[in-house]
Amino acid sequence: MTSLSRREFIKTSIAATTAATVGLPVTKAALAQAKAAEAGWKWDKGVCRFCGTGCGEQIATFNGKIVAIKGDDDAPVNRGLNCIKGYFNGRILYGEDRLTKPLMRMKDGKFDKNGDFAPVSWEQAFDEMERQFKRVYKEKGPAGVAMLTSGQSLIQEGYVAAKLMKAGFRSNNIDPNARLCMASAVVAFIQTFGIDEPANNYSDIEQADTMVLWGANMAEAHPILWSRVTDRKLSNKKDIKVINVTTYSNMCSSIADLEVIFKPNTDLAILNYINREIIERNAVNTDFVNKHCVFATGPYDIGYGMRPTDKFAFEAEKDTQKKQLVNKLDKYEAIAQRRPDMAGKDIEHKAAATAGAHWHITFDDYKKALEPYTLDFVAELAKGDPDESVADFKKKLQQLADACITKGNLMSFWTMGMNQHVRGVWVNELVYAMHLLQGKHGLPGNGAFSLTGQPSACGTAREVGTFAHRLPADLLVDNAKHREFTAKQWNLPANTLNPKIGTPIMVALRGLEDGSVNFVWTQTVNLFQSTPNSNHWLKAARKPENFLVVSDSYPTLSGKVADLILPTAMIFEKWGAYGNAERRTQVWRQQVEAPGEARSDVWIMLQFAKRFKLKEVWGEQPLAGLKEDGYPENKLPNVLEEAKKMGYTEDTTLYDALFATAANKKVAWPDPIAKGAKNSTVDFLGDGWFVEKALFEEYRQFTVGHQHDLAPFDKYYDDKVRGLCWPIVDGKETHWRFSEGHDPYVKAGEGFNFYGPLMKAIPSGNLDKVTDPTPKPLPGKAKIFYRPYAAFPEQPDSNYDLLLVTGRILEHWHTGTMTRRVPELHKAAPTSVLCMHPADAQKRGIKHNDVAMVESRRGKVKMVIDTKSSNKMPKGSVFAAFFDEAVQTNQLVLDAADPISAEPDFKKSAVKVTKI
């Protein structure tokens, strides 16, 4: 033993722990050796940094470093397993080019927009950041500044960011990258159920009979969940059905009983066909529908979430942009939308500004709306593989309907295919309709389950509410009662909070270009690589009036166009919490210290808050376009007088007013739950309160009694706890929401109660319009929406003749900021390739592995052509991942978005591919 080096110790024990994890026989000697090797190690629970699955991990630290990671055997999500990204979770902290010092563009010892980056002190960084923020704030008010955050931000970070922006700076211009990922799902949840987030949980996989994937390459994007789906399938190959409904053949098809390749956007038509069949086959669960549902619809001509003007468009994209205002209805849309005489004619997108409006309709109207969606019509419209016959496709649609209309248990799963969709809210709602018509939701093995992409898209972005329209726990900024409640929680004078919804990510970035936003601060996000049509913002960021701050732990493309780069601590270098897709909140302690001068985002924001006095932000502020009861027009009122009555002074800092409150300062550090762990945020702040705990407890008060009940902070740190699924009432988790016996908010005898409080009174009308504007309440009920088929705006033409789909691959996370720092992952997938049908490649004189030019109206890049990928494209479509900075796939992508959710559609851009 003694002769073993430390490195060998580590290797032996990793092998032994891995082996123990998977139940392989390990020799006693090896085990003894491993135990000795681990003698100095400290193991603690943690969570995977990557996708929304939320796998539990155990982390070993030794001498201030993370030395090993293992899947947590006790974690119900992953039972000791990880995917290849999780395997390297500890390594992502140790890339060679971690940022350790603030970097600012400097010339002659001071900030210069055109200077080169140079290391500066935190003091210098904050000085300039403060100066720039105040310059813009003074000139443009709260609307001129924006903070863009992440579904990977920790719960506490999201809470600090939201409070600082909304209560402190009185700006709702805060939006997370979940806008690019989950926003359509969010709106659909709220419109359908009145409350955000899934009703079901992962254990439904083990109870489902039929599992349908709608636009989700789960095998790559949710690897561990996919191994659960696969295991379920193997447990009974004959009776368990897995169906892959997708626009191209992918890894999921390998175990699928049925693969349906459809033309993009026709998922709307397919779902309407199934829902029509449910009625035709008398499979409606009438009792459930009568008791618990109403029918609803909304306007059709809602545009495509593009700018209404071509002032900023590149010459080549002007023809696409025009469609925001007017475009031709194609023959299928005309039939599907019951206005066949309009085929080929121009329609104006008059409802673009009221896209989210909706109203009651009758069941008869609903039935009438579905009439056009016959098998023949939908088969002709939706067939996505030119090499497949209509007859074969028709058979598949019938099989799909047979599987979805079932007496057995039915689960639907989806991700970006349905969320990143110009009609994303609509298509989400049609899946809910399919489940609700049959009464199959919120029950074990039955439910429509929107999977999240990011580790805390739910926990932070959605639950804390770091969106432009949200406050914590599903409260909304444009709701007077919600603002009042929030002001009380936060101890704010009335009318401090801004009632006008802020800028979603795309609008904030467009703002850099059109001059409406001049100060942008990004955290844990690389938007200048990830957003569509990025060439616009890459250029705009460098305009002299704009100041861009990028907080990140590694160099990114966003940093390249920034003015100030702040080095941040990563996941296990700080205390934190994430919430996954099944409402499971999971926590960890700080395990190691961040390198150099890197600091936690919480510390950075709190330090920044210290630089603002109330008189600078709570005085009167300009706010163009504000018209709201109780507010002066175009202004946020001066609330300083009232603030004084509440005990604040004009010179109280935002740090003291919002964060280091008397109550919070009582939550003292050190705390016994730390069990010896450090807290660098507290250490660097230096005033002795346990920031993460105090803020979590403060945030928790929003959730308790509001159907979002979180458990006390300490409960999550219990050694036996592996995350808890909210609402947690009387110490008990909730695994299925809305159904009696599972959800504490549903009373005995109710059966179901869709108690979500939002959008629970709507006008009434017919399929075309509102006929009675009086809001009619629908307490406890869910809405079954009719939404029509609509085509996407940028159809391939003779010039841009291919359709580009972008997405993720198994090996890399998002823009590769972390995973590309792991040499093994980089080696496994070094570049983003363009997956293409071999015949399409051949037609262009291109061979597999050739480099070709890929060009859209918005940009062009060179890519390696892959005709042999596991993503098998139908002719006419190509796929590329977006992780590769060298390729920058998303610059090609059209920034059309769902007009209701403002989530861009990354899946439908016309491109051409040429040989070079």
Binding site: L24, G86, Y87, I224, S227, D231, K233, A828
Partner: protein
Amino acid sequence: MKEINRRQFIVRTAQMAGVAACIGVVWQTMVRGEARAAANALRPPGALPETDFAAQCLKCGQCVRACPYGTLSLSSFSDVAPVGTPYFMARNIPCEMCVDIPCARVCPSGALDAKFPDIEKARMGIAVIDEENCLSWLGLRCEICHRVCPLSNKAITLNIVERGSSKHAKFEPVVHSEACTGCGKCEKACPTEQAAIRVLRPEFVKGKLGEHYRPAVDGHFQTQTIQNNTDIAPEYKPTHKQKAPGLEYFNQELPEGKEGRP
């Protein structure tokens, strides 16, 4: 000195090493092909069997120059292959499987088949998996070898099985030698510290059944084949010159103290 690029330099150095080696025993073994390359020193596509390859190869380095990816090297003295012969190590730079096989096309000696028809028919090596250290076999979702394999689902397939102890299936990669070209992309991409999938030359991997036995294929024994292939079945040649085999034994006395047969 005339400008030469790095590749040319390497080739020339190796060639000079080859020339320098033209002495005594080394040359002898080299020419006769007695020096053996290491198991993981892979030959270019279309190479003769290893026993003939080193003898046939002129050590000219043309294949090395023709390779557009820098995959091939000429071995020098301390290398893993006989001096002057071309080889590649999968973990360093694997073969990209060019459809036009430029390395083989330029071979003047026949050591590489200049007319080799189809890169997918190449058998440079065979991938073998260390199931004890393969992440996918351990239950993790890795499968990188399967994903990078140019003949994915033919050369490497995923055997998907229930994990038993939990609710997560395992995706076990399995190599099929009838399709594996030995290009080495799997070994290159394998994310474990030491590759858990390695490509070795076929003779180091392939076992061989006795000629007398035909295994079951899809549950059916191919007994027919055996009956019809008398040329393959070993000829029966009795070695005993006795009148009748066994006589001697049967006629021996029983060993002392034993009853019946031993």
